[in-house]
């Protein structure tokens, strides 16, 4: 681990620059993706990516150059490219950051169980094949797939102020999905995949529930195929954690990103219905809503000790008792806006620059178990496992869809319904939060697929949440 540190330090020390500040962020990533589809092992996809970004600050203007040439010559060339670009944009730059402090911290961070060896590729295939084979023979089951993604990342940050930050992490993404078809309609049911990922080792696969899940996931796909459409109308909505994560992500996470509020993302990812003046004043949700930036749950996807600019990460309330307190704003966004923020300056790799990202964004548990949540609903619906997401560029009007729905009448779960969708407006939706599940309903989830930024970046984010109930929500089904 961190074997390249000494070499990088030596080469960094030998770099020559006229910049008042410069830094190097080295990232090395190894990937392995395995899958078994309909009992046939698909070819394994392996990969190794390695490179560095050199960032300079020249007369208060910053620019970067990214290179995979890690030789002394290659790094020096990149540094000089960044310097030339900083000079080029000097008369056009939006920001002068000459007064922004830089980090001097030295620290290391590792994923839990990183030292434990992961099962061999052959053993992983055997596990996936076993789950695939557990899908029963039924002509209506037309497709199924068990998959496993493993990514290990080492990152080393150095700067000319003396900082050295090292991170070694392993991310695991198990998944299983089944599609059933009756000659007209098709319905899919899944476990994990885009809705689950954690840091760790084989323990992640166990926590995901992949082992032994094949038959039950297939059974649920068949149940959906036989189920009626979700009825249209206004109901209380019980969202399970694997839909809550999407709800948090889209209608709390993105609107609170400070770079959106500052306008950087208006051409692509969009803006926000939240204004800088709302922090400390806006009642974002009901008093049951408590939202944290939490880098301290070791297995969660975006747990770390420092962000990519070296800001130390701590658990912080963004919303407490429904009141909006602070944005997802990195040190630079804090410098620009004058608002407090968090350590969320993150890049997806060596070839993209850090920007404000979500990291781990969680809802704190409440006091009711699942049975109590259900029993408190007179006319409602339970929705589980996100499958569709759409929200406007200000992160306000949304429509989300799930794989699995179950009606709730008079405090009891009733029949399964297919194509459960719901729509609402973020600024009002969270004020309808009427009950929050306790720790027994709380799940640590996350996704590797959050897209944002120009140039585009896709990054891993974590969301942990209990089940939650929202009153009087507009729900509806599909066409057939």
């Amino acid at each position: 681990m961190f074997d390249i540190t000494a070499l990088l330090r030596q080469r960094f020390a030998a770099l020559r620059s006229t910049a008042e500040f410069f830094s190097l962020r080295y990232v090395q990533e190894s990937r392995q993706h395995l899958s078994v589809r309909k009992n046939v092992a698909e070819p394994p996809s392996l990969g190794r990516d390695e490179g560095a970004m050199l960032t300079v600050r020249l007369n208060g203007v910053e620019a970067y150059a990214a290179t995979a040439d890690l030789s002394q010559t290659g790094l020096q060339r990149a540094l000089e490219q960044a310097e030339a670009l900083a000079r080029n944009i000097n008369g056009h730059a939006l920001l002068n950051v000459s007064q922004q402090p830089v980090t001097t911290v030295q620290a290391d961070y590792c994923s839990p169980n990183l030292e434990q060896p992961f099962p061999s590729l052959g053993d992983c295939y055997a596990l996936l094949a076993s789950e695939s084979a557990s899908v029963p023979a039924d002509p209506r089951l037309v497709n199924w797939q068990a998959s496993l993604g493993i990514t290990t990342v080492e990152q080393i940050y150095l700067n000319n102020a003396g900082a050295q930050l090292r991170q070694a992490q392993r991310f695991v993404y198990p998944g299983f999905g089944v599609t059933a078809f009756d000659g007209q309609d098709s319905q899919s049911r899944s476990l994990g995949r885009e809705n689950f990922g954690q840091q760790g080792g084989f323990d992640v696969i166990e926590r995901c529930g992949l082992i032994g899940a094949g038959a039950s996931v297939a059974d649920q796909a068949l149940q959906l195929l036989l189920a009626p459409n979700t009825p249209s109308g206004v109901r209380d909505l019980l969202l399970m954690p694997d839909q809550m994560m999407l709800q948090i992500h889209e209608s709390i996470g993105h609107p609170l990103e400070m770079d959106r509020i500052l306008g950087d993302e208006r051409n692509y990812a969009g803006t926000s219905f939240v204004k800088a003046s709302d922090f400390g004043h806006l009642q974002y949700g009901s008093t049951l809503l408590n939202v944290t930036f939490d880098p301290d749950i070791p297995e969660q996807l975006a747990s770390y000790a420092h962000d990519d600019d070296g800001t130390p990460a701590h658990k912080t309330f963004l919303i407490r008792d429904g009141l909006l307190l602070r944005p997802l704003g990195s040190a630079l966004s804090q410098f620009r806006s004058g608002l407090d923020g968090v350590a969320n300056s993150r890049a997806c790799g060596w070839n993209r620059a850090p920007i404000d990202r979500m990291a781990n964004l969680n809802i704190e548990p409440g006091e009711q178990n699942l049975a109590q949540l259900i029993s408190g609903i007179e006319h409602g619906i339970l929705m589980k496992t996100n499958r569709s997401w759409s929200i406007d560029d200000a992160r306000n009007k949304f429509q989300f869809g799930c794989e699995w729905g179950q009606l709730i009448e008079n405090g009891e779960l009733r029949g399964v319904v297919k194509n459960p969708n719901y729509r609402g407006v973020s600024a009002q939706f969270w004020r309808n939060l009427s009950a929050v599940g306790d720790a027994s309903t709380f799940q640590v989830l996350g996704t590797p697929n959050c897209g944002k930024g120009e140039p585009n970046q896709v990054i891993r984010v974590g969301h942990a949440s209990p089940a939650c109930v929202f009153s009087q929500i507009d729900v509806f089904g599909g066409d057939a």
Binding site: V40, A41, P43, P44, S45, L46, G47, R48, G51, E62, A63, Y64, A65, A66, A68, D69, S71, G74, A78, Q81, A82, L85, I89, H92, A93, L121, G122, Y125, V142, N143, T179, Q184, S186, S188, G263, D264, R266, N267, Y268, N351, A353, I355, W389, S390, D392, D393, A394, K397, Q399, N419, N421, R423, E454, P455, N456, Q457, V458, G478, D479, A480
Partner: protein, 441 residues
């Protein structure tokens, strides 16, 4: 970096290294990109990215495995990395079962396309943007530089594609928060053409100055400008034409391909690679074919990668493994550009749509939102900008029973996507007049 020589060096080394029972394919991707982000018409973030990668597939004894490696540009270092990858794949193959869907393309083909047009000087571009955007709230990104794609196989196939291009994608914001979207992309930067494009966008801002019209949910006549239609077509590309998705009942167009439904007879969709910015060969090493996907509203060919070809007993036709179009072309219609507003009469003029997804995938029912310069039109005249609205409708309706006309003029839209790397995808399509668009929120 001399990309072609770099790639050839790797290929030659691999050809020497593989054993008699082994075969390989090697795909190559490289770019030297300049990325300059703008906010409030000033540079928010700027950088250079030099990146290259190779994807090595090793085949032996009916098994195959892939390894993607980042290349440094230094031949000695990269040859060492390539041979490490080869060694790892050799260790991996015995651990996996024989692949029943392995299909080798043994064809020996050659393709060479280099478009090394000179790109503009960065300082000049910055100066032109600064001058043109004076007094404007401009936000966006300028991306420019060479892009390379290569492919070689142990059977002797060799393809090379290299093109210099730029893509300036931006929005102009009115003080009231409304915005217009614009783009200037291509291979030859023409200061006059850029100034005109910027001026056209600036002129649209005047319409946004009018009081915002708030619409109620309901059904409306609508004109979808090419960029808006591109979003709907883009959704259909999520497995719509994929042989695997159609077979696995995971395609939004599975009912069309099953012959259960059809789209408007006005609709013709083709994958038209020849003459596009995309390489003439797939990542898997198949020469790409021009394909008719939909003709007169009925399903025709589908996109077939090598694996699907083996599994579903089809003919591979140059699709990448995701079986998504790379150069989609929609046939033009008869509606003249200057007749669009008159024929729309009263309804919505929608410049762009945003963040589409499926409400019911097998029914091709999708939802999404208006974004940028959407206007309310009465009696053929623009009345007011419209607040953001959500639609929820089926493609079988929008591009089927409710499709009234397609425009005679088409727009070539070059992908602005820079996920992982700058993309070369494009769509060439008209605008669409629809009799009924369902707004829900």
């Amino acid at each position: 970096m001399a990309y072609l020589e770099h790639f050839q060096c790797l290929v030659n080394s691999l050809r020497d290294a593989v054993l008699a029972t082994e075969h390989f394919t090697l795909s190559y991707s490289a770019e030297q990109s300049q990325f300059i982000r703008f906010n409030h018409a000033q540079v928010r973030q700027a950088g250079e990215v030099a990146q290259a990668s190779a994807s090595l597939k090793l085949i032996d004894s009916g098994r195959q495995a892939d390894f993607q490696l980042t290349l440094s540009g230094d031949s000695d270092v990269d040859l060492q990395r390539l041979h490490q990858a080869l060694a790892q794949l050799r260790q991996t193959l015995p651990l996996i079962p024989v692949d029943p869907y392995l299909q080798l393309n043994k064809a020996v083909w050659h393709s060479h396309n280099v478009q090394d047009t000179r790109l503009p000087d960065t300082a000049d571009v910055l100066a032109q943007i600064a001058e043109g955007a004076t007094g404007l709230d401009l936000v966006g990104i300028y991306a420019a530089g060479p892009i390379c794609r290569g492919f070689a196989s142990s059977f002797g196939a060799f393809g090379w594609h290299q093109a210099n291009s730029f893509n300036f994608d931006w929005s102009l914001f009115h003080a009231n928060g409304q915005a217009v979207k614009a783009n200037y992309a291509g291979q030859h930067w023409d200061p006059t053409a850029f100034a005109l494009r910027l001026q056209q966008a600036r002129a649209q801002l005047d319409y946004l100055d009018r009081p915002l019209k708030v619409l109620a949910p309901g059904q409306y006549r609508a004109y979808l400008a090419p960029a808006a239609l591109d979003e709907i077509i883009g959704m259909l590309c999520w497995g719509g034409f994929s042989a695997q998705a159609i077979a696995n009942k995971d395609s939004p167009l599975q009912r069309l391909y099953a012959g259960d439904v059809q789209l408007s007879p006005l609709l013709g969709i083709a994958e038209h690679v020849s003459g596009s910015l995309s390489p003439a060969f797939s990542e898997e090493g198949y020469p790409r074919s021009d394909l008719t996907l939909i003709a007169q509203g009925k399903a025709q060919q589908r996109l077939v990668c090598a694996r699907s070809a083996a599994e579903f007993e089809l003919q591979a036709n140059g699709a990448d493994s995701d079986e998504s179009p790379c150069a989609l072309s929609l046939a033009a219609g008869e509606l003249a550009a200057d007749a669009v507003l008159a024929q729309l009469g009263t309804g919505l003029y929608i410049s762009n749509l945003w963040y589409l997804n499926y409400s019911d995938l097998p029914a091709a029912r999708m939802t999404g939102l208006t974004r940028f310069a959407t206007f309310w039109v009465e009696d053929g005249k623009i009345q007011a900008p419209v607040s953001t609205m959500r639609f929820d409708d089926s493609a079988y309706s929008l591009l089927g029973t409710q499709l009234e006309a397609l425009t005679r003029d088409r727009e070539l839209i070059l992908s602005t996507s820079t996920y992982d790397q700058r993309q070369t995808r494009s769509t060439h399509l008209p605008g669409a007049l629809v009799k009924c668009l369902t707004l829900t929120l």
